[in-house]
C-alpha cells in the first residue's frame, strides 16, 4: 500500500536578491499511517518550509513529493487546492479561527468546503467538537476560549477536513505546558485511532516523548532521526 508521504531529494531554494538561499536540501522521507512525526530544529532550520512543501502550499525547487503514491511536486497551481482538499489538513500556532464565527461554525465552514451540507454537517461538527472535549463550548466565539481550547478547535477543524495527513506548525507555541501536552496527546490518539499521519514542526522539547519519530533539521537538512523505542 502507498505511504501517505514519500519525498525524494526534495529541495527548496529561495532567491533573495542575487543570493540563493537553500531552505530545504535533499530531504528523503517516508511517513506512514498512524505515525506521529516531530520536526525539530532551531529557527531557520527549514522545518516550516518543509512542512509547507509537504502541505502543497509551497512548491519544491526540485525533487519528488508523493502523497499516497501520487506525484504532486509538478502539479499546477490550479490543481493543488484539490490535492490539499483530499489529503492535507493543517493546524497552526496562531489557531487562525474566524473570530466572527462560533466554535461550531468554524468547524462547519471546513465541512461545507468539503461538500458536507445541512444537518449532516451540523451533527458532524458537534461530534468532532465533542471528540476534542469542547461540547460545552460549541456556541462560544473564539475570543471567549482559552489558548488550549482554541487549539482544540483547530484540531477539530483539521479533523473536519477528513484528510489522512495532518500537518501542525508549532501547535503548542502559544500554549502553556499543560494545555500543550493535552493538545499533543489528543493528536497522538487521533493518529492512532484514525490512522492519520501527523507531522508536527516544533522546538518544544517537553513534548518529545509524544512522537513516534523525530527528525532533527539544521540548515535545511535532516541531520538526524530518532525513533521511539518500542
Amino acid at each position: 500500500m502507498d505511504k501517505p508521504i514519500v519525498t525524494r531529494n526534495l529541495c527548496k531554494i529561495y532567491q533573495e536578491g542575487r543570493v540563493e538561499v537553500t531552505a530545504v536540501s535533499s530531504a528523503d522521507l517516508t511517513l506512514g499511517e498512524g505515525e506521529v512525526v516531530g520536526l525539530f530544529g532551531p529557527s531557520g532550520s527549514g522545518k516550516t518550509t518543509l512542512l509547507s512543501i509537504l502541505g502543497c502550499i509551497l512548491r519544491p525547487t526540485s525533487g519528488s513529493l508523493m502523497l499516497y503514491g501520487k506525484e504532486v511536486s509538478d502539479m499546477s497551481e490550479a490543481d493543488l487546492p484539490f490535492i490539499r482538499k483530499k489529503y492535507i489538513s493543517f493546524i497552526f500556532q496562531g489557531f487562525n479561527l474566524f473570530p466572527a464565527l462560533t466554535v461550531h461554525e468554524n468547524v462547519m465552514l471546513v465541512l461545507k468546503l468539503k461538500g458536507v451540507k445541512g444537518e449532516v454537517a451540523e451533527r458532524r461538527a458537534t461530534e468532532l467538537l465533542t471528540e476534542v472535549g469542547l461540547e460545552e463550548r460549541i456556541d462560544f466565539l473564539p475570543r471567549d476560549l482559552s489558548g488550549g481550547q482554541k487549539q482544540r478547535v483547530a484540531v477539530a477543524r483539521a479533523l473536519a477536513a477528513d484528510a489522512p495527513v495532518i500537518l501542525a506548525d508549532e501547535p503548542t507555541g502559544n500554549l502553556d505546558f499543560s494545555n500543550g501536552r493535552k493538545v499533543m496527546e489528543l493528536l497522538k490518539n487521533l493518529a492512532a485511532e484514525r490512522k492519520r499521519c501527523v507531522v508536527v514542526a516544533t522546538h518544544d522539547n517537553r513534548i518529545e516523548d509524544i512522537f513516534d519519530r523525530i527528525l532533527f533539521m539544521e540548515d535545511g537538512k535532516i541531520v538526524r532521526e530518532k525513533r521511539r523505542s518500542p
Binding site: T48, L51, S52, G55, I57, L58, P81, F82, R84, K85, K86, I88, S89, F90, F92, Q93, G94, N96, L97, F98, P99, A100, L101, E105, L109, V110, L113, K114, R157, A158, A161, A163, D169, E170, G173, N174
Partner: protein, 375 residues
Amino acid sequence: MFYVALRILLYDKIRSFITLLGVVFAVGLIFAQLGIFLGLMETSSVIIDHTPGDIWVTSKNSKNFDFSQPFPEYLYHHVRSEDGVQWAEKLIVTWALIKQKEGGTEQIEIVGYNPDSGVGGPWEMKAGDIRNVKNGNFAIVDESAMRRLGNIRVGEYRDILFRRLQIVGISRGAKSFTTAPLVFTSYKLAQGLVGWIGPDNTVFVVAKAAPGYSVATVVERLKKRLKGVDVYTKEAFSMKTRLYWAVETGVGFSFMLTILISFFVGMLIVGQTIYNSTVEHIKEFGTLKALGASNFEIYKIIFSQALINALAGYLLSLIITILSVKIYESTDMVMVVKGWVNLLVLGLTLLMCVSAAFVSIRKIKKIDPAILFRG
C-alpha cells in the same frame, strides 16, 4: 459563504455601520441627483408629452419648446391639407409678465390653445374646465404657480401684459422647467396678447397622422412641402427639448458629475472597509486555502460582503428617497422615482460595491503562505 460574510460584517458592528452609512449616503445622493435630473427633464417637455398628436411643426432651428419663434399661420393650412394628416391645431407658447396682487411682476409662460379641441391645453383640472377660456379674456393657472403668484382662486382677475384676465380654472401637473408659472389662454387671446407674435402667426402646429399612415412618412412629406420651418415627431421634439436643457445648458453635466462623484465615494468607502476586513482576516482566509478552499470559494465570501453592503445600503436609500419625495415636491421640485430608475440605481450600487471588492480579491489571490506559519 453568504452567511460567513454576514457574520463577519455583524461581528464588527461599528465598522459595518459606518460602511452602511457611507453606502446610504452615496446611493441616496445618486437617487436624489438622478431623480431630480429626470424630474427636470420631464418638466422640460411636459406640454409636448401631454399634448395629443404625433407631429410638431416649429420655426426653423428652434432649439427647444420654450424659445420657439413665430412663423406664418397659413402653413397650418398646408399641414391640414397634407395627405396623411388627420387633424392639425395651432399652438402659441410665449413669455409674458403678470402683475402681482400686491404689486410687482412675475414672468410667466403663456400657452394659447384651441379651447374646442383642447390640444395643447391643460390635461388635468383641479377646478374649472379647459373650454372656459373660450371667447374672452380668460386664463387657467396651474396650481404649481401658487407659490410664485400667490393663492389664486377661480373668478379673480389678474393683469397680464396690461390686460385684465379672469381666472376661470386651476390646472394640475403643468410645471415648466424654467420654473416660470404656466398660464393657459385661448389661442386667439394669446396671439393678441403678445404684440410681437402678430395676428397672422403661430408658434407651433401640432398634427395627428391619419390611421394607416406612419408618422415618419407624414413627417417626411411635411418636411418636403413646408419651407422655413422644422417638422418633428412628438418624441423627437420632446427629446430635442430635453437635450437642450440637459446638454447645452450644462445642467446634465453637473448632475452626472455629482452622480459620478457619489459613485466613486461609495466605491472607496466600501472598498476600504472590505479591504481592511480582508487584511484582518487574511490568516483565516489563508487557512481555508490551506485546507483546500479554492480562491473562488474565498472570493464568494468577499463578494458576499460587498453584496450585503450594496443591498442593505440600497434598500435604506430607497426608503429614504421615497419618504423624501414629498419634501422635494413641497419645494416645487419634481423627483422621479420609477421602477426603471430604481433598477438602474440598484445596478449602479451593485457595480459600485462589487468593483470595490476587487482590490480585496487581488489580496486573496496573492496570499503569501508564509503568513500562516507566523504565530
